[in-house]
């Protein structure tokens, strides 16, 4: 296997020499290709679209894995997919859906909306933004390559040792997990830092912290969680990598190690992670509900406070995933109480959404349907969450389908509904046309019904005693009918997902320009043309209130008052270096997976060299001149 990798690396090098060094014509042909434009882009709106495409791409894999598992569970004693393959499916499904679907789709929305909402021309670090995307994509690709090369990770998305140790998971499956997540994790950390700095440093004049739209606030807190939540994962993955590749003994009890260390490190990351994927979805819901109720968000300040509190408490509860490990009653009680406390700020949010709708002029667009459908669904997930937070009860629920039902209620009912609402809501700002509402409503209802059909019944599958991560059950268990209903529901969700694709194609074919402000919006992104010009704001807007655009509308103005005269705008240059650096990481990851340390080190050398090239490069960007801005603005408004 190492030979294959070496050959691949050799070809890559040859390619680099041919394209960069000698064959100038070939390079010119590359550069004029439309793909080159996307590979080198540093524009946050384009990177947002790339994130959405990447997330959608991996969603296909994660979805098929889920359907295969539900097919296996359709009959008792089925032998369609058993044993290790089933373990690989469940591990890859979980890992893919969390890291390579939920995270990138939320980053897509953050990239598209956050700079526009705070009135910024760009993110703080356009280069790192591109690098973050490519690292995520390379990590996902590396992990999914495991299907082609024989064995996929099979120790669950939590990758517990010792079942993830060499002894119990032979082959290279877990190595794909470790290196794939390591690479995409670096990308996520970079993205988190980027959004923190963007939101702190780049707000438009007058955009104080308490005038920021709630989606920006939740993205801000989620980025802070990424900043402090991802390093424990990095540390844990290093330990597992050293253990598997270089013979370290962190987790091997015979050599004095302790497998619980991995559980702690994983969940110190893992619990903040679930808030990282839910908080931006809360933000989307707040924007959507406020816009389509035509009311200011009820209790804005308490919403902000609740978001920060959830973020803070998110770090205090990790051990509730480990109640059955045997930490003792004192530790279990402390973590149980901290966990239950999170229900308070979350409850504040739920009531604020309800009171925002109360007395509002509600329009049931598809985005609003997802937001309204989200509220009861998420509350159900929250209630089962509080049930699980009680240690004595958790001893009964632990590792049963009840847990599976719980986290799908919060992850699909929360995150996925939020992402879909956000896509329908910001689609016109991304592409300039709205998605079809009629297909959209079919999409919502099929997805909503399919979801509850799949997962509501899984609470009972769990209470009747079926453990999770097990590939079959017996006819006399009495679980056949409810498992079959669950499978039917999963296929209904698949139909709904296909309908979303149909909607995108249909709406593109029948597109009509959406105009600047298709939803009668309240925030700054609706003040500029759709899709937004590459420099975002010709003149930075002066923000005078929360819901800045709505404030101007209520005062009889059609647009924002500019905070600066029209002048040349500074823009960063496109660059291919993020892609090259990612290639280095990818080669390195592949090398270590195949236990070919030379190739692994070679990849890292490419990374370091690219860093130096970047540091020495004189890249001051360029200026968009005033007459070009005027021309673009006129074209957009015509």
């Amino acid at each position: 296997m190492a030979t294959i990798v070496t050959i691949i690396v050799f070809i890559l090098f040859l390619g680099a020499i041919l394209t960069g060094g000698y064959n100038k014509e070939l390079m010119a042909r590359f550069r004029s290709h439309w793909l080159w434009d996307w590979i080198t882009t540093v524009d946050h709106k384009k990177i947002g679209i790339l994130y959405a495409l990447g997330g959608g791409f991996f969603f296909i894999f994660g979805g098929i894995e889920a359907l295969l598992m539900r097919m296996q569970l359709f009959y008792p004693n089925n032998d369609f997919i058993v044993g290790r393959t089933f373990n690989e499916l469940l591990s890859m499904h979980g890992t893919t859906m969390i890291f390579f679907v939920a995270m990138p789709l939320l980053f897509a929305l953050m990239n598209v909306a956050v700079p526009l909402q705070i009135g910024a021309r760009d993110v703080a670090f356009p280069f790192l933004n591109a690098l973050g995307f490519w690292l995520f994509f390379a990590g996902g690709l590396l992990m999914n390559l495991s299907w082609l090369f024989g064995n996929a990770p099979d120790a669950g998305w939590t990758n517990y040792v010792p079942i993830a140790a060499n002894e119990y998971s032979a082959g290279t499956g877990i190595d794909y997990y470790v290196l794939g997540l390591q690479i995409s994790g670096i990308g996520t950390l970079i993205g988190g830092i980027n959004f923190l700095v963007t939101i702190i440093n780049m707000r438009a004049p007058g955009m104080s912290f308490l005038r920021m739209p709630l989606f920006t606030w939740t993205s801000f807190v989620a980025s802070a969680l990424i900043l402090f939540g991802f390093p424990p994962l990095t540390a844990g993955l290093f330990l597992i990598m050293f253990e598997r590749l270089f013979g370290a003994n962190f987790f091997d009890v015979a050599a004095g190690g302790n497998p619980i260390i991995w559980q702690h490190l994983f969940w110190i990351f893992g619990h903040p992670e679930v808030y990282i994927v839910i908080l931006p979805a809360f933000g989307v819901m707040s924007e959507v509900i406020s816009t389509f109720s035509k009311k200011r968000l009820f209790g804005y300040t308490s919403m902000v406070f609740a978001t920060i509190l959830i973020g803070f408490l998110g770090f205090m509860v990790w051990a509730h995933h480990m109640f059955t490990v045997g930490m003792g009653p004192v530790a279990n009680s402390i973590f149980a109480i901290a966990t239950m406390a999170i229900a308070v700020p979350t409850g504040i949010k739920v009531f604020n959404w309800l009171f925002t709708m109360w007395g509002g002029k509600i329009r049931f667009t598809t985005a609003m349907l997802y937001a309204v459908g989200f509220i009861p669904t998420f509350v159900m997930g929250g209630v089962t969450g509080v049930m699980l937070a009680s240690p004595p009860a958790d001893y009964q629920y632990h590792d049963s389908y009840f847990v599976v039902a719980h986290f799908h209620y919060v992850l699909i009912g929360g995150t996925v509904f939020g992402v879909l609402a956000g896509l329908y809501y910001w689609w016109p700002k991304m592409f300039g046309y709205t998605l079809n509402e009629k297909i959209g409503k079919w999409n919502f209802w099929l997805f909503f019904i399919g979801f509850h059909m799949t997962f509501f019944i899984q609470h009972f599958i769990g209470l009747f005693g079926m453990p999770r991560r097990v590939f079959t059950y017996q006819p006399e268990d009495g679980l056949t009918l409810i498992n079959q209903i669950s499978t039917y529901g999963a296929f209904l969700m698949a139909v709904a997902s296909i309908l979303l694709v149909v909607n995108i194609v249909y709406s593109y074919r029948h597109r009509v320009p959406a105009g600047n402000d298709p939803w009668d919006g309240r925030t700054l992104e609706w003040t500029i043309s759709s899709p937004a010009p590459f420099y975002n704001f010709a003149q930075l807007p002066r923000v005078r209130a929360l819901d800045a655009f709505w404030h101007e509308k209520m005062n009889g103005r059609k647009e924002m008052e500019p905070a600066e005269p029209l002048g040349p705008i500074h823009m960063p240059n496109d660059t291919h270096l993020p892609f090259v650096m990612t290639l280095g990481f990818f080669v390195s990851g592949l090398g270590f997976v195949f236990r070919s340390n030379e190739v692994g080190v070679l990849g890292l050398i490419i990374v370091i060299l690219t860093m130096f090239v970047r540091s020495f490069e004189k890249d001051h960007g360029y200026h968009v001149e005033t007459d070009e801005i005027e021309k673009t603005e006129k074209g957009a408004n015509a």
Binding site: A124, F125, L189, I193, N194, L196, V197, I200, N201, M202, L227, F228, F230, P231, P232, T234, A235, G236, F238, L239, F242, E243, F246, G247, A248, N249, F250, D252, A255, G256, G257, N258, I261, H264, L265, I268, F612, S615, F616, K618, H620
Partner: protein, 209 residues
């Protein structure tokens, strides 16, 4: 105006007093780097936790009391702490727009960092001879991961600062290079602070506890 202020006004002609924060890019870089150091802190905290959990698992190998030699580690500590001081003097040169001062003190910083690294490598080689290796026990794995990660940070730091000095030689101090030096010195201080914790938690507590 005092003499010091006059001196300052003379040397910093053309550059604002805090060149690292004079541009938006510079401000973003400094803030972003502080945040990154926050993430690094958590990373090291995890490695410290792992070490503390496993430091008793020495199996047949030498224990912490038998292994650690405080005089040599103390020498390494003094070297690294001094290098933090010299990097401050380098940043002072940056603020005074004094190219020679900047280059001299950052050069000293790199040399001290390399000396520290040399001592650390010598120490590791010694330990391996005494049967304390990466794979000998859980303690070995945790020790080399924690101290080795710090050493890797030192190595990256001296490579980075060297590269910046090459840049400064070509371009001098300007609004583009100033934030880079400033951020590199932040990094260097951070690496130093981590070492203070390693010296205390690993070496001193390993001797006493």
């Amino acid at each position: 105006m005092s003499t010091a202020e006059l001196e300052h006004a003379k040397t910093s002609a053309g550059l604002p007093p805090h060149p690292e924060r004079a541009t938006m890019e510079g401000r973003n870089k400094v803030l972003g780097f502080w945040l990154f150091l926050g993430a690094e802190t958590v990373l090291f905290a995890c490695l410290f936790g792992t070490y503390l959990a496993l430091k008793g698992s020495t199996l047949d190998g030498p224990t912490t009391q038998e292994l650690y030699k405080i005089p040599m580690v103390a020498a390494a500590t003094i070297i690294l702490l001094t290098s933090s001081l010299t990097s401050v003097l380098g940043v002072l040169g940056l603020h005074q727009n004094n190219y020679k001062k900047l280059m001299f003190w950052f050069g000293v910083t790199v040399l001290l960092g390399a000396a520290f690294l040399g001592l650390e490598i010598y120490e590791f080689v010694e330990y391996v001879h005494e049967g304390h290796t990466f794979t000998s026990s859980a303690f070995g794995s945790a020790f080399y991961t924690l101290v080795g990660t710090h050493g890797a940070h030192v190595l990256f730091g001296i490579t980075w600062i060297t590269a910046l000095m090459i840049q400064a030689r070509r371009r001098g101090i300007n609004l583009d290079t100033a934030p880079k030096f400033f951020v590199a010195s932040l990094y260097w201080h951070f690496v130093d602070v981590v070492w203070v914790f390693i010296f205390t938690v690993v070496y001193l507590m390993g001797k006493v506890g």
